[in-house]
């Protein structure tokens, strides 16, 4: 922690950056911090409550964050994949952002959860994660850490749904997506949902019905999952942000499974590797085409 604070202080003092996007303790657990004064760097923390993917604040659409000046951002390995995505898709320049990589031993689901990290409260994506430090960084801090094993395999549910018959699946998703009220928390918190004007906000024509009935919700969540196929960094933020507690990760992991099995593609923190939907091979499988 001291290493992180000292580094942040130095970056601000030497005018390498104008703001540190990091984490701080607040009244209710840990929350994102925007530190512009070297004297405030002791507020910075990094521990298993640092759930948030701060790469979301790097988007050029966040004008109020941009206005603070050149940022340094604290990133876990999963967050680094989002930074790579933003660079790959020409949203930010690699040189304009200082990346403070942190070694991570997994995080909890709720940043207000103050109990120690255990197999009972670790985010399922973290117990399955094999990347404990980012490969994309300017500075790397913290001690190497292992993560406690999680209790359930999170892909078990995915396979369970795949094994259902179509009517059961449709019934399941009508139940789940029927709860969506279209607050768009999933989109707003997503570091890869950076469109200036989302297709779901367009009304002439309204390709996606804005009403939160199941039909509008199917169009929205299917389209979002497709637009994130091969781009979703599996940070789990959409599912955490959902006030209706819809397991949105199932859709994005299904898309990830699809691009992995069809195109051997796994999301990386290498900005030079193109996304599967933005590229193709002449001999891509076409068993479904008549």
């Amino acid at each position: 922690m001291q290493e992180l604070r000292d580094l942040a202080r130095r970056l601000l003092r030497e005018n390498q950056v104008n703001v540190i996007l990091g984490y701080e303790c607040a009244r209710r657990g840990v929350r994102p911090a925007f530190i512009t004064e070297a004297a405030d760097c002791d507020r910075l923390v990094f521990d298993h409550r640092c759930v948030h993917n701060l790469a979301a604040y790097l988007s050029p659409r966040r004008t109020h964050v941009r206005a603070l000046g050149r940022p340094a951002v604290v990133i876990k390995a999963c967050d680094a994949r989002a930074v790579a995505g933003l660079i790959r898709e020409s949203q930010i320049e690699r040189e304009e952002t200082v990346l403070i990589g942190v070694r991570c031993g997994g995080v909890v689901l709720d940043p207000a959860d103050s109990s120690p990290l255990s197999s009972g409260n670790i985010a399922p994506r973290c117990s399955a994660c094999d990347q404990r430090e980012p490969a994309l960084f300017d500075h790397l801090v913290g001690e190497p850490k292992g993560a406690p094993a999680g209790e359930a395999s999170r892909d078990a549910r995915l396979s369970e749904i795949e094994a259902m018959n179509p009517e059961e699946r449709l019934g399941l998703w009508i139940g789940l997506l029927g709860r969506c009220t279209r607050c768009h928390a999933c989109r707003q918190i997503c570091p890869m949902c950076f469109c200036e004007r989302c297709i779901a906000d367009k009304t002439q024509p309204a390709w996606i019905e804005t009403s939160p009935h199941s039909r509008g919700n199917f169009a929205w969540h299917l389209t979002r999952a497709l637009h994130l196929a091969g781009r979703c960094v599996d940070c789990g933020e959409c599912e955490r942000a959902c006030p209706a507690r819809i397991p949105l990760g199932l859709l994005s992991r299904k898309a990830a499974r699809s691009v992995a099995s069809r195109y051997g593609y796994v999301v990386t923190d290498d900005p030079a590797i193109p996304t599967p939907i933005g590229s193709f091979q002449f001999d891509d499988g076409q068993e479904f085409i008549a």
Partner: protein
């Protein structure tokens, strides 16, 4: 009205079963559909056994019972060169809410003011009229609750037709309205009056949640009135992602959008949907201009509406202190901390003048 009754747990179950078999919609806190979470939500029940009387505040407020996230206003159909309107049969189904939390029940009375102000919203009042509310003394508060700071309490009966206080194996019920009396009528003779009218001592919940936030709404309002352009807004809004989660879980937020959705080339439906002031789209003009140009302006609007404009027009704040916006915010926006800061500044300004 000063009718009181002791209601045993089994008597209450009888009442609930009677309501269900009479075809009424009975809404109560139940375990949230997704079994992974220890969460509750208000939902229709088929049996009293489904009801959770204790436990945390339900995820979403009761608002959706009176004001659904989407509802059809009418349908239209093109017939030759004219348009036929098909009225939507908005039958207001008789509804009884069992186990409403005080902060949710109170919100209805607060929102009634704007819904009946310059235009009387028949959909809102139609459902209000058809709904009887049985509030229960709040069984559970946490670090995000602040109802005492906005003039309510875990034992506030505001907006309730019955107010239930747990008492040896059942409830002591205060019947507060004519609607409540009508609901009691079939059981009035069977159920005894309580022996003493002393108020039950609750588990110190009020003092616990009172400690979360100590401000005066009027002092907040005074500061807000003079600080439309204050650096505070830019500072606190930095982490906000601009979604509508806080507004959609809020019992008092009531903004909506009206859309026409075609069902084909010659017919469609006009629907009313929840809307929220934090997304940029809320105020985006057709020209591309947005009068609330950044998140600071949008977040200021949220606070101003609830704690300045609404009290200025209707005499009370548009907030019941349920704390859902605090719990639900994935970015850690904390209304309690923000109101405490505004309260502190207001006091400083008051001391200086």
């Amino acid at each position: 009205m000063n009718i009181r009754r002791m209601i045993g747990k089994t008597d209450l179950d009888v009442l609930i079963r009677d309501l269900i078999s009479a075809g009424k919609r009975v809404i109560a806190p139940v375990r949230c559909g997704d079994s992974q979470h220890e969460a509750l939500e208000y939902a229709p029940v088929r049996s009293p056994a489904e009801i959770h009387w204790a436990g945390p505040l339900p995820l979403r407020s009761l608002k959706e019972i009176i004001f659904p996230p989407t509802e059809t206003l009418f349908g239209w159909k093109q017939v030759k060169s004219s348009v036929e309107i098909e009225a939507n049969p908005n039958g207001f189904r008789e509804t009884v809410i069992i186990g409403a939390r005080p902060c949710d029940a109170a919100a209805f009375e607060i929102v009634d003011r704007v819904m009946g102000w310059d235009y009387r919203d028949d959909l809102w009042f139609g459902r209000r009229q058809a709904t009887t509310i049985l509030t229960v003394a709040c069984p559970h508060g946490d670090e995000s609750c602040f109802c005492p700071a906005v003039g309510l309490s875990p034992e506030s009966a505001r907006g309730a037709d019955w107010f239930l206080t747990p008492a040896d194996g059942g409830f002591e019920a205060a019947i507060l309205t004519q609607k409540g009396e009508a609901l009691l009528e079939p059981y009035k003779a069977q159920w005894p009056e309580p022996n003493n009218f002393s108020k039950q001592q609750l588990s110190g919940l009020e003092s616990k949640v009172r400690a979360n936030l100590k401000v005066q709404p009027e002092s907040i309002r005074q500061w807000l009135e003079k600080h439309f352009d204050d650096p505070l807004w830019k500072h606190v809004a930095l982490r906000c992602h601009g979604c509508g989660a806080c507004a959609f879980v809020c019992p008092a937020c009531h903004c909506f959008d009206i859309v026409d959705e075609p069902e084909g080339i010659d017919r469609g439906r006009r629907r009313r949907n929840w809307d929220a002031c934090q997304p940029a789209l809320f105020t985006l003009h057709g020209s591309g201009h947005n009068p609330r140009k950044d998140q600071a302006a949008r977040f200021r609007q949220r606070i101003m509406h609830k704690f300045n404009y609404y009290p200025a027009r209707f005499g009370e704040v548009l907030c019941t202190g349920c704390g859902r916006c605090v719990r639900v915010c994935a970015a850690g926006m904390d209304l309690i901390a923000i109101l405490a800061e505004i309260g502190r500044r207001s006091e400083e300004a008051g001391a200086a003048s």
